[in-house]
Symmetry: C2
């Protein structure tokens, strides 16, 4: 049986999604170790996308093939019983054999949270980036408008040796101004390595007045990572949803 | 100068408010160590009330006398600069010499959060008590109605050797039913040791059907801790506000 798992995790303690080195320090490793134990054989888990160390998820999706025929609820509860408190399976669905969490995905939604209060946020400290200096949301929105569409985002990719296409479609960037918080939501068909964090760092520099909103069109044209802004820290970022 | 500090803290890592043993493991100890360093002499801090190990605060209040004449904002920012990320000074006020955080307080508001979802809450895991079995909010509300008023709460006090009066006034118990969460807010003129947690444990047992709502009047009459329910775990509890 092929299963689609939707999960949430607090990425604070982890080295990111993808298994590497100590498998207990990655989300994929944790899931594979547990499912392999439940199945009594090695199980592989395909994630919709990798999240960096410290990045969170409220709707990451992965798929895996299991021999044992679990009901959806029983698998969810069995996994939650053994997973640590910072990872939770939200939903289990039996899906067709052709479903693949990464290859079948058609879009993703990410949210970046910037805490702008003069006083640090004690309870959300691991889920926001604290930036006390004033940021102009108006300028950020203007810059964001130039980023929308199907474009080459090479300047917003940390992977220097990226051989594949760096063309992606950004459907929407929504920038909300809440009390003491700016929340940026990105929706697109796919994201390059560190792309959301570099987009966010660049938008913050625009908001600070260090760059003009129009300058982002130059950055796109240059196709050079050095032209874009800093990589915003991981803890502000959450993968909200994967679309199929 | 006499200062009133309003602060928030995530109590997860601490042995509670009151200094004892390793001063770096208590909130009061942390604050006194920092203020003593800033003043260059030993500074004492009076808290409005003690919170147990693992209990949080969004509006704890304390007072202290400082020789140095700080502006309100400068003291707030200096303290936040040195405090760990799980403690934050929200507000500093210069107050009259007669103000004392504990003696001047006339009321407190506490909130207890019970997570009732089938799936654990990854992001709020340290701030809620996870209780998967169904609880009747209707029964809890009925039981709560008997607890309101000026009464002897000896049965709801963990301190066996309490010599002082155990009579307190509970002004209100509000029980909200949210999606996957029950939130109980207590407002009263003062609370005994563990009182909010024992009240919560008792209300949960009523909600589970293990006790009748009416039985809480017997518990009050018996004046015996053994008659009341369990002490609900600390992480669900937050001190919201101290009233003056």
């Amino acid at each position: 049986m092929n299963y689609k798992l939707t999960l949430a995790y607090d990425g604070t303690r982890y080295d990111g999604w993808q298994k590497q080195g100590n498998t207990e320090k990655t989300i994929q490793g944790k899931l594979e170790n547990l499912l392999s134990r439940l199945e009594g054989r090695t199980v592989e888990v395909q994630g919709a996308g990798r999240t960096d160390a410290g990045v969170h998820a409220k709707g990451q999706v992965c798929s895996c093939k299991l021999n044992r025929n679990w009901t959806e609820e029983a698998l969810r509860d069995a996994m939650n019983q053994y997973l640590p408190a910072d990872i939770a399976i939200l939903r289990v669905e039996q899906v067709s054999e052709r479903f693949h969490a990464r290859l079948s995905a058609v879009g993703k939604i990410y949210c970046y949270r910037i805490w702008t209060g003069a006083v640090p946020n004690v309870f959300e400290r691991n889920y926001v980036y604290h930036h006390k200096e004033p940021i102009s949301v108006v300028s950020m929105r203007q810059a964001a408008s130039y980023l929308i569409g199907t474009q080459d985002f090479k300047s917003f990719c940390s992977n220097k040796h990226m051989k594949k296409s760096t063309i992606r479609t950004l459907d929407a960037i929504e920038i909300e101004e809440l009390t003491d918080e700016i929340r940026i939501t990105y929706r697109g068909n796919g994201f390059l390595y560190n792309m959301v964090r570099i987009l966010t760092g660049t938008l913050i520099e625009v908001g600070e007045g260090k760059r003009t909103p129009e300058s982002v069109t130059d950055i796109l044209e240059q196709k050079d990572r050095q032209q874009a802004g800093f990589t915003a820290p991981p803890q502000g970022l959450t993968l909200l949803e994967v679309e199929y």
